[in-house]
């Protein structure tokens, strides 16, 4: 199996050769090669043995990404089949000057601080979001004009939901 994976902004090609299916799998990532014994006690839980060292890895799927938990460390991995261009690559090409401001977490909109057509500075607060009793200011990443306001005070929003669209000058 050969896959392209993106994690923390870097894309890797991983090759997994399970050999005759009886022994450890051979894993190749760039110039690194590992022999890893893989067992799955329950779905989503991977017990990996590498050179006698034990690694217990939990993997769950969320919004098309794999959330990988290895001890207290976690990371997010996106997969693309080699035949198709990966969503990671597509996401990297941001329409120049047009920026969607999304909710960094699910919560409730307390106040929208700007109106459609308003000019905003980079770093200016545009919206206040409340989650878990804490208020967070959402800021504009660019200088520009507010093109769209897609939310209003009191609205419950989900992580990743587009709140505002700002177009750069």
């Amino acid at each position: 199996m050969r896959l392209q994976l993106t994690s923390e902004g870097v894309t890797h090609t991983i090759e997994i050769d399970e050999g005759d299916g009886k022994g450890p799998v051979r894993v190749t990532i760039a110039d690194r090669e590992y022999l890893v014994d893989v067992s799955t006690p329950v779905p989503g839980l991977y017990s990996l043995l590498h050179e006698g060292n034990v690694f217990t890895v939990y993997v769950s799927q969320r919004r098309g990404r794999y959330e990988v938990q290895l001890g207290s460390w976690s990371t997010s991995v996106e997969v693309a089949l080699p035949e198709r261009p990966g969503p990671a690559r597509k996401a990297a090409v941001v329409a120049a000057g047009r920026q969607e401001i999304t909710a960094p977490m699910s919560g409730r909109v307390v106040q929208v601080l700007v109106q459609q057509g308003a000019s905003v500075q980079e770093g200016a607060a545009v919206l206040i979001l409340e989650a878990m009793k804490m208020e967070t200011e959402i800021r504009s990443p660019i200088v520009g004009q507010v093109k769209e306001v897609r939310t209003e005070a009191g609205m419950a929003v989900e992580t990743g939901q587009v709140l505002l669209v700002v177009e750069g000058n």
């Binding site: 997994i16 769950s60 969320r62 938990q69 207290s72």
Partner: protein, 504 residues
């Protein structure tokens, strides 16, 4: 003793109180909002009643609905937990009026200590030193501007009803003032139902050390030593320990004495906490008294062997205290790590969502008090604390080593938690040396996490690839393998992994 107690709270603290009730043979009644039908505290209760829609202001903070529920189900007493209505004098009064025992102090004592400015006046009268600040609530922004420039920045904006860092804002310069006042009022309104705020001079880099007291209805007041709570983010505690690493017997006696006097001044009954700021020269200043159980109560339980929730129940039922001051001995060291659904790598921002996998630490002297379960949802409506992890050791270094071990065992996936922060902390040189102050996190915690070992990163990629192969639907299991020269297909590998699993 009571026959049935209603717990006017949710999450891990509701469960903590239920456990004490069970051990005393008392039936435990849960209340829940529409968002909490599946919550763990409902699953663990003997009885459970719906009290309203998800926002706390329409459910957990609605006094009438909780009183009506208690009357309807025949509860003799209400335990408020912490947060929500725990320090609401109106709620305690409503209980008194309906002949339901409020497991806490009298409404008068709550009102005195709850009005932070009145409490400051009372303490000054009793000769306990206080932090400079206002002795009344703020009228408007103009008054704030005037008082702040008189006192000099930095100043602290605080909620009148206070507690848990809610409605608190540090203001370094005048231009930050109006936004801080707005945010503090707004948070205070949603957390306590009252937007009143006041101002205090900000003491630079103090330690936050508090004393646990226990008082019965017969005039006995004792203290159970101190807790060091200096490690905070957003003025809310993250890690607590007992004893404080800098405590001496002499200082403990003086602070304990001041705490007991504070409780006596309020004619206090119940478990309570007197909070102090401690400066470099070990001068202490009264900060406030919390007229309720504290989140960090387990560290005191671990070093004293006293169950504080059971003690609350005994005292509320009118029994005299079972211990005298000379019976209280602090043994060993205990540490609590608050596990929040927050991302420490991104400024501790909230991370609500569904918990996918969960494995709780266990073993000797490890106590995990959790309000969530695998597959359960961490709601954006409520407090982000999902668990308190508490350990005990014969010495502070033993307790730290045990906490390190317990954190390594603790798995919560699907949401971000503060576990990686705690794991970092347990290796930090200043923490190990006990060099703590309330700016510790800002001062020490690196904003960038260190680069991961390549091996770990690669194994994470391997696990993600295997999970992808396992969960991606196969167009045809019977497709010929490798025959057309396309190489090994991921579908085929998934099939083989199934075989390996069955074999394993």
């Amino acid at each position: 003793m009571f026959g049935k107690v209603l717990i006017a709270n949710r999450g891990e603290i509701a469960i903590r109180v239920m456990r004490a009730c069970r051990e005393l043979g008392i039936l435990a009644v849960a209340v829940y909002s529409q968002a909490d039908r599946n919550a763990l505290h409902v699953q663990m209760a003997d009885e459970a009643y719906l009290i309203g829609p998800p926002p706390a202001t329409e459910s957990y903070l609605v006094i009438d609905r909780i009183i009506d529920t208690a009357l309807a189900c025949g509860a003799d007493a209400i335990h408020p937990g912490y947060g929500f209505l725990a320090e609401n004098a109106g709620f305690a009064r409503a209980c008194e009026e309906h002949d339901i025992t409020f497991i806490g102090p009298s409404s008068r004592a709550i009102a005195l200590m709850g009005d932070k400015t009145a409490a400051r006046r009372a303490m000054q009268g009793g000769g306990v030193p206080v932090v400079p600040g206002m002795d009344h609530f703020l009228e408007d922004d103009a008054e704030a501007l005037r008082i702040s420039s008189e006192m000099g920045y930095p100043i602290m904006v605080k909620s009148a009803l206070g507690g848990g860092g809610r409605g608190m804002r540090l203001v370094q310069q005048e231009r930050e003032l109006s936004e801080a006042l707005r945010a503090a009022r707004s948070e205070a309104r949603s957390a306590f139902g009252d937007p009143a705020i006041y101002l205090e001079k900000f003491v630079q880099n103090p330690r936050h050390v508090e004393v646990q007291v226990l008082a019965d209805a017969h005039g006995h007041v004792i203290h159970l030593g101190e807790r060091e709570c200096s490690i905070q983010r957003r003025h809310q505690k993250v890690v607590e320990e007992s004893p404080s690493p800098i405590m001496t017997e002499e200082l403990r006696a003086r602070m304990g004495d001041a705490a007991v006097r504070a409780a006596q001044a309020a004619n206090y009954r119940n478990a309570g906490t007197v909070e102090f700021l401690l400066d470099d020269e070990r001068n202490f200043y009264f900060l406030e008294m919390n007229t309720r159980l504290q989140v960090e109560h387990p560290v005191t339980e671990m070093v004293t062997g006293i169950d504080l929730v059971q003690a609350q129940l005994h005292v509320a039922a009118g029994e005299p205290l079972r211990f005298r001051q000379e019976d209280i001995v602090l043994r060993g060291a205990a540490i609590e790590c608050r596990i929040y659904a927050e991302d420490p790598a991104h400024g501790f921002r909230p991370s609500p969502g569904r918990i996918m996998a969960l494995q709780s630490p266990a073993g000797p002297w490890v106590r995990d008090e959790r309000g969530v379960f695998a597959g359960g949802e961490v709601s954006p409506y409520y407090d982000p604390m999902i668990s308190k992890l508490v350990v005990w050791g014969a010495t502070r270094p033993d307790a730290i080593a045990r906490m390190r071990r317990a954190l390594d065992e603790y798995i919560i996936s699907g949401i971000k938690t503060t576990i990686p922060f705690h794991r970092w902390l347990m290796d930090d040189a200043d923490f190990l040396a006990g060099r703590l102050d309330t700016s510790f996190i800002e001062r020490r915690f690196p904003r960038q996490s260190p680069p991961r070992e390549t091996l770990l990163q690669d194994l994470a990629l391997l696990a993600a690839a295997l999970e992808h192969a396992r969960t991606t639907p196969q167009p045809s299991r019977a497709a010929p393998a490798d025959g057309d020269g396309r190489g090994v297909s991921p579908w085929k590998l998934a099939g083989r992994m199934d075989v390996m699993r069955r074999r394993g």
